[in-house]
Amino acid sequence: MKKYLSGIYLTLIFGILYIPIITLIFFSFNSANSTAVFEGFSIKWYIELFNSPETFEALRNTLILAVLSSLIATVIGTAAAEGIYRMRNKLAKSAITSVTNIPMMNPDIVTGMSMMLFFVAVVAGISTVFELTYEDIGFFAMLIAHTTFCLPYVILSVLPRINELGNSLTEAAQDLGCTSMQAFFKVKLPNIMPGVISGMVMAFTMSLDDFVISYFVGSSNFQTLPLLIYSMTKKKVTPDMYALSAIIIVTVFLLLIISNFKTGKKIEGRRREARRK
C-alpha cells in the first residue's frame, strides 16, 4: 500500500510542476499571436524563431555567459571550499562563509544596482588615467556579477563533500609521494567531483535565468535572453519566446532520459554484483 501511495504523491507533485511547462509548449504551437487564446496549430513561431538572428544571438550570449561564469565560479569556489576547510580559526571561517552568503541573501535588485554603481565608479576612476568607456568592460561586468552570485552555490555544495571526505585520502596520497598540490588534484578532486559538478550545475541554472542583475550591470552590446524576453513586456511577450523555451526544455529532457538510460544500466549492474559478494 505504501509503495502505491508514494507513487501517487510523486506523480501529483511532478504533475503540478510540469503543467505550466506543458502549457508553455502547447502555446508555442499557437497560430495566433497570443499566449492565452489558442486558435490553431502551426509552427509559425518556430520558423519565426529560426530566422531572427537577434534571438539566437541573445541565446548564445546567455549560454556563453552562463557557462563561463559557472566555470569560473566553480574553480574559485572549489579552491575557496578547500581553503575554508583547512582554515583553523573559527572566526575567519564563519566570517568568510557569511560574506559568501550575502549575494544569495540580498534581493537581486540591490546586488545588481550596487554592482552597477561600483563598475561605473571603477570606469570613471580608470578613464581619468586612460580612455575607457563602460562599453569595453560591459561583458566583463556581467561575467563578474554572474560569477559573484554563483559562487555561494558552488561553495555550499562543495564544502560538505570536503568535510565528509576528511584528510585520510590526501595523507595517503602524500605518503605515496604526491606533493600537496598533486594530492589535491589526483585524489581529493575526483572524490569531491559530484559536489563540484552539482555546484556548477546550480551556478549554471542561476546564471541562465538571471534577469535583474544582468539588466543593471549589462552594457548595450551584450543582450541576454532574459533581458530580451523582459523587454517585451512593454507590449506583449510573443509566442516565439515560448518556442525557444520549449526547444531548450525538450532537448534537455531528451538528453536526460538518454544519458540516464545508459548510466542506469551501469548502476543496476554494480548493485547486483555487490549483493552477490
Binding site: S6, T35, M87, I109, P226, I257
Partner: protein, 271 residues
C-alpha cells in the same frame, strides 16, 4: 609549528575567493551603505532609515507570505525528498533532474503560463466552466513562490536524508518504533540540518521576490521587493538602499538564530 604553517599554505587556496568577495561583494555593499545613509545630495542623514517606519507594513506582509510559502514548501518538499531518497538509485537521478528542469525555463514565461492556466477566463476555468478568482489573490502569490522555490527545499533535504545510515531505520523499528515514530523520533531529527538549509534557501529569496507578486498578485498589494524595485527605478536610491540594508541585517539575525537551534555545523546544501 609545522602544522600551523601547513594550514596557512593550504588556506591560500581561499585567497582568490577572499580577494573576489572583498572586491565584488564588500565594496558594492559599502556603496549600498553609503546610499542608505545619505540623502539626495550626498550629505549624511539618518532620514532614510527613520522613514522606514512606513514600510513596516509592507515588510510585514512580505515576511508573512514568505513564511507561509516556506512552510508549504516544507510540507510538500519533505515527503518528496524522502520518497526520492528511498527510491532506486537509477530513479533518484531522474527525479532530481526532473525537479531542476523547470528552473531552466525563463521565470517570466513560467509565470505567464501559470496565469494562463489559473486566470478567471483561463484554461482551468474554461474547462471546468467555473469562474473562481485565483490570480490576483495572495494565494496565487504563495503558489508562485512555492512553484518557483520547491527545488531549493527538496535538494538539501534529499542530500541529508540519503546520507542517513540505513541501519537507523532498522534500529529504530527494532527498538519498538512504529513507522511514523521512526520518522518523528529518528529520521526527522537527523535530517534537521537539511531542513534548516532548505528553509533558508526558500525563505530568503521569497522575501525579496518582486516579479511573482506583481504578476500573480495582480498588483493590488505590494511586497518589499516591489517597493525596492520601484525606489531604484524611479531614482530614489537612498530609501531603496536603506530598506535593503535593514532587510539584510534582519535576515542575518534570523539565520544565526535558526542555526543556533540546529546546532549541527553545516547541512549538505545541494546534492
Amino acid at each position: 609549528m609545522m602544522k600551523k604553517k601547513q594550514s596557512i599554505i593550504h588556506s591560500i587556496a581561499a585567497a582568490p575567493h577572499i580577494f573576489w568577495s572583498v572586491l565584488f561583494i564588500i565594496l558594492p555593499l559599502l556603496i549600498v551603505v553609503y546610499y542608505a545613509f545619505t540623502d539626495g545630495e550626498g550629505n549624511f542623514s539618518f532620514e532614510n532609515i527613520l522613514s522606514l517606519g512606513e514600510y513596516a507594513e509592507i515588510f510585514g506582509l512580505s515576511l508573512e507570505l514568505s513564511v507561509i510559502a516556506t512552510f508549504v514548501c516544507l510540507i510538500i518538499g519533505y515527503p518528496l525528498a524522502m520518497i526520492i531518497a528511498k527510491s532506486k538509485p537509477k530513479h533518484q537521478k531522474i527525479f532530481l533532474m526532473l525537479l531542476m528542469l523547470p528552473m531552466w525555463t525563463n521565470l517570466l514565461i513560467r509565470t505567464y503560463s501559470i496565469m494562463a492556466i489559473f486566470d478567471d477566463g483561463g484554461i482551468l476555468n474554461s474547462l471546468l466552466g467555473t469562474t473562481f478568482h485565483f490570480i490576483g489573490t495572495k494565494g496565487a502569490v504563495i503558489f508562485g513562490m512555492v512553484y518557483d522555490f520547491l527545488p531549493y527545499m527538496v535538494l538539501p533535504i534529499y542530500t541529508c536524508v540519503s546520507k542517513i545510515d540505513k541501519h537507523m531505520w532498522e534500529a529504530a523499528s527494532d527498538l519498538g518504533c512504529s513507522p511514523t515514530k521512526v520518522l518523528t523520533k529518528v529520521i526527522i531529527p537527523l535530517s534537521m540540518s537539511g531542513v534548516i538549509s532548505g528553509v533558508t534557501m526558500v525563505l530568503v529569496p521569497s522575501i525579496s521576490t518582486f516579479y511573482i507578486s506583481q504578476k500573480l498578485g495582480g498588483g493590488t498589494f505590494e511586497l518589499i521587493g516591489d517597493t525596492i524595485e520601484r525606489q531604484f527605478v524611479t531614482g530614489a536610491l537612498n530609501v531603496g538602499a536603506a530598506i535593503s540594508l535593514v532587510m539584510m541585517i534582519l535576515i542575518l539575525i534570523s539565520l544565526s538564530v535558526m542555526n543556533k537551534f540546529s546546532d549541527s555545523s553545516d547541512g549538505g546544501i545541494i546534492v
